[in-house]
C-alpha cells in the first residue's frame, strides 16, 4: 500500500501526508501565511524597510549568515549560554521549588522574597555578576540561569501542591517519610507543571542569553544583533532573530518530546484521543 502511494503524484502525496500527519501540512501552511501576512502588513501599514525588512531581504541575509562558517561560532557561543544557563537555572529552580514545596513554612516566608528578587531587572545587577563571573561567557550563563530559574520554581511549587492528598495519605499510612512522599507522589504529580515551567524557562533562557550579551559581549548572536543594529541592517537583525527563534522552537519541541515520554498517565487510547478533545 505504501509502495503504491510512493509512486503516486505529488498532489496525492500531500493528501497522504495530510491524512497521516496533518500538523506538518498545517504548520507549513501557517508559515506561508505568516510570511504572507508579514508582506501584507508591510504593504498595508506602509512600514519603511528600515523598520521591518521584506522577507526576501531577510532570507538573503539569513542565507549569507548560514554560509559563513564564522556565524556558527557565534551560534555556538549563544547556544552554549542558553543550554548551560537553562540547565543551571532549571536544576536550581527545581531544587528551590522542591524545598519550598516540601516545607509549607518556606512557601510563606522565603517564596515572596524570591518573587521580589526576581522583579529586579538583570541589567541592574549585571555589574555584580561581572565581578564574580568575569567578562566571558560565564557571566552570561549566570544571567541566563537567573532569568530561567523562576518559572521552574513557581510551577514546581504549584505542582507539588496539586498532588492528590488521598495518594499522600495512602503513602503515609505505610509510614512514608516526607522525602518518600515527595519522591513517590509529589514530584510525579508536579511533572506536568514542571514541564510547563521548563517550557517557559527555555524561552526565557534564549532571551536571557541575549540580554546577557547586550550587557557586553565579544561574541554570540546578541553581539551580532548589536552589530547589525548599529549598521542599521534591519534585514540582518531579523535574520538573527529568526535563528534565535528557530533555536527556541527546536528546544521547545525537544522538551515536548521528553515530556510525552515522562508524563504518560493521563493519555488515553490513541484512537479515541483523536476522536474527542
Amino acid at each position: 500500500m505504501t509502495a503504491k502511494k510512493e509512486t503516486s503524484l505529488p498532489a496525492g502525496r500531500i493528501r497522504d501526508l495530510l491524512y497521516r500527519r496533518p500538523e506538518i501540512v498545517f504548520s507549513v501552511l501557517l508559515l506561508i501565511l505568516i510570511i504572507g501576512g508579514w508582506e501584507a502588513i508591510i504593504a498595508l501599514f506602509n512600514i519603511p524597510p528600515i523598520l521591518v525588512p521584506a522577507p526576501s531581504a531577510i532570507a538573503r541575509s539569513l542565507w549569507a549568515n548560514l554560509t559563513t562558517p564564522r556565524f556558527y561560532s557565534h551560534v555556538g557561543v549563544t547556544l552554549w549560554e542558553i543550554l548551560a544557563g537553562f540547565a543551571i537555572g532549571s536544576v536550581v529552580g527545581l531544587f528551590i521549588g522542591v524545598c519550598i514545596g516540601q516545607w509549607k513554612m518556606l512557601e510563606k516566608t522565603v517564596y515572596p522574597y524570591i518573587v521580589a528578587f526576581q522583579t529586579v531587572p538583570k541589567v541592574a545587577i549585571a555589574p555584580l555578576i561581572v565581578i564574580w563571573f568575569g567578562y566571558g561567557i560565564m557571566s552570561k550563563v549566570v544571567i541566563t540561569a537567573l532569568i530561567a530559574f523562576f518559572p521552574v520554581v513557581v510551577n514546581c511549587i504549584a505542582g507539588m501542591n496539586a498532588a492528590s492528598y488521598q495518594q499522600v495519605d495512602m503513602l503515609r499510612s505505610f509510614t512514608a517519610t516526607r522525602w518518600q512522599v515527595f519522591r513517590m507522589v509529589k514530584i510525579q504529580a508536579a511533572m506536568p507543571f514542571i514541564f510547563a515551567g521548563l517550557d517557559i524557562a527555555i524561552v526565557l533562557a534564549v532571551i536571557g542569553a541575549i540580554v546577557g550579551e547586550f550587557i557586553g559581549a565579544q561574541a554570540g548572536l546578541g553581539f551580532l544583533l548589536l552589530q547589525r543594529n548599529f549598521s542599521m541592517d534591519t534585514a540582518g537583525t531579523f535574520a538573527i532573530l529568526i535563528v534565535l527563534s528557530a533555536i527556541g522552537m527546536i528546544l521547545h519541541l525537544l522538551m515536548n518530546m521528553i515530556r510525552r515520554r515522562i508524563v504518560f498517565w493521563n493519555e488515553r487510547d490513541e484512537i479515541l484521543a483523536q476522536g474527542s478533545s
Binding site: 541575509s61 564564522r70 549585571a126 553581539f223 543594529n229 549598521s231 540582518g236
Partner: protein
C-alpha cells in the same frame, strides 16, 4: 616572555566597532605587545558601570564619558582620572536640511528626540536652548526615541522635529539616508567627551604601565590619522564581525570611513585642548570648564580641584607622546599587512 595582562572596558557601548579603533588597533599593530602587555578590551554597557568596575579594580582602564569621570569624583568621591581625551563633545541638534527649522529659536513648540531623558545630552540641550532664548521646560517637548531605527522612524514620521544625539549617532542617521542639518553650541568644542581613564591608585602604583598603554593608543591615533582607510582595513581584518552588514562592500567601506572621519575630527578637536601639540593627553583647564558647566546645569552637587580629574603631570603626558611619529605615519601610508 610573559606579557602583563591589562583589561580595558569601553563604557557606554555594548558593541565595539571602528569607533573605538584607538583601543582595538594597538593590539593587532603590536604596540602594546612590544612594551610587554597583553591587553583585553571589553564592552561595558554604560559609563556608570565602567566606573563601578574601575572602582573595584575589575578593570585597569575604562573609556568613559568625561561627565561620568567628573561625577565619579564629585558625587562618589571616587578618584577616577582622565589620561587621554578621545574627543570633544560632538553632540548636535539635527533638523531636516531643507525644513522650516533653521535656528534653535525655531524649535519653540516643537518636539526633540533624545536617546533617553536621563542621557548626558540633556544638560547640553537645556543650556543650548536657554542661550537661544527658549525655556527647556515649556517651549519644547522631549521624547526619548532610543537608538538606531527607532529614532530615524520617529524623525521620518514627524513625531519629532529634531534629534539631539552624539556625533557618531548623527553620522549613522546620515548614513541611513536622513537629510540633516546639525546645530551645535560652539562652547561644546571646548568640553572633553569620551576619555580614556583609570583610578588614581593605578597611576600611582604602576605609572610605567599606564604610560605604555596610553602610548600604544597614541600611536594608533597617529596611525589612523595618517591613513584612515588602512585603519578600517585592519579593523575589518582583525574584528571581522564589527564590519557593517546589510550593504555592499563599497557602501560598508564608505560608511565606516565617514564614521572614522568623525572620530578623527573629534580627536583633532581634543588635541587642540591639549594646547601643546600633543596627540594624546587630557587638559586640566578643559575639565575645569566642563565641571563648571555641569555644576551650573545642576548635574553636579559639588566640585573638585580640576587637577584632580586628570592623571599625572606634564612630564607624564610628555612620555606618552614620546615616540617616532614619522615612523608610524610611514607604516600607515604603506599599509602593508599580509593576509
Amino acid at each position: 616572555q610573559d606579557l602583563q595582562k591589562v583589561k580595558i572596558g569601553v563604557g557606554g557601548s555594548n558593541f565595539l566597532n571602528l569607533t573605538y579603533y584607538y583601543v582595538l588597533l594597538p593590539g593587532p599593530l603590536g604596540y602594546w605587545k612590544e612594551e610587554g602587555y597583553d591587553v583585553e578590551v571589553f564592552p561595558v554597557s554604560g559609563s556608570a558601570e565602567a566606573a563601578q568596575q574601575l572602582a573595584i579594580n575589575n578593570l585597569d582602564f575604562a573609556e568613559m564619558n568625561a561627565s561620568a569621570i567628573i561625577q565619579a569624583n564629585t558625587e562618589q568621591k571616587l578618584p577616577i582620572q582622565a589620561i587621554i581625551t578621545n574627543g570633544t563633545i560632538g553632540w548636535g541638534l539635527s533638523v531636516a536640511r531643507d525644513g522650516p527649522i533653521k535656528t534653535v529659536a525655531d524649535l519653540k513648540g516643537k518636539s526633540i528626540g533624545v536617546v533617553s531623558l536621563s542621557s548626558g545630552g540633556i544638560p547640553l540641550l537645556n543650556s543650548f536652548l536657554k542661550t537661544n532664548g527658549l525655556d527647556p521646560e515649556n517651549d519644547v517637548t522631549l521624547i526619548s526615541t532610543g537608538v538606531g531605527a527607532q529614532a530615524i522612524s520617529a524623525f521620518n514620521s514627524g513625531q519629532v522635529d529634531a534629534l539631539m544625539y552624539w556625533g557618531t549617532a548623527t553620522v549613522g542617521f546620515r548614513n541611513a539616508g536622513l537629510e540633516l542639518e546639525t546645530l551645535s553650541d560652539p562652547a561644546w568644542k571646548g568640553f572633553p567627551d569620551f576619555t580614556f581613564s583609570t583610578v588614581k591608585s593605578v597611576v600611582e602604583k604602576d605609572p610605567a604601565m599606564v604610560e605604555s598603554i596610553a602610548r600604544g593608543m597614541a600611536k594608533a591615533m597617529v596611525f589612523a590619522a595618517a591613513n584612515p582607510d588602512c585603519a578600517r582595513k585592519l579593523q575589518w581584518k582583525h574584528y571581522p564581525d564589527t564590519r557593517p552588514t546589510g550593504m555592499d562592500e563599497d557602501q560598508a567601506a564608505a560608511n565606516d570611513l565617514s564614521l572614522i572621519s568623525v572620530i578623527l575630527s573629534e580627536q583633532a578637536a581634543a588635541a587642540e585642548l591639549n594646547g601643546n601639540g600633543q596627540v594624546a593627553g587630557a587638559s586640566v583647564p578643559a575639565f575645569g570648564t566642563y565641571q563648571d558647566f555641569l555644576f551650573d546645569a545642576g548635574v553636579l552637587t559639588s566640585k573638585v580641584e580640576p587637577a584632580q580629574l586628570v592623571a599625572g603631570d606634564d612630564a607624564f603626558r610628555e612620555r606618552i607622546n614620546n615616540f617616532d611619529k614619522a615612523a608610524i605615519e610611514a607604516q600607515a601610508k604603506a599599509c602593508d599587512f599580509p593576509g
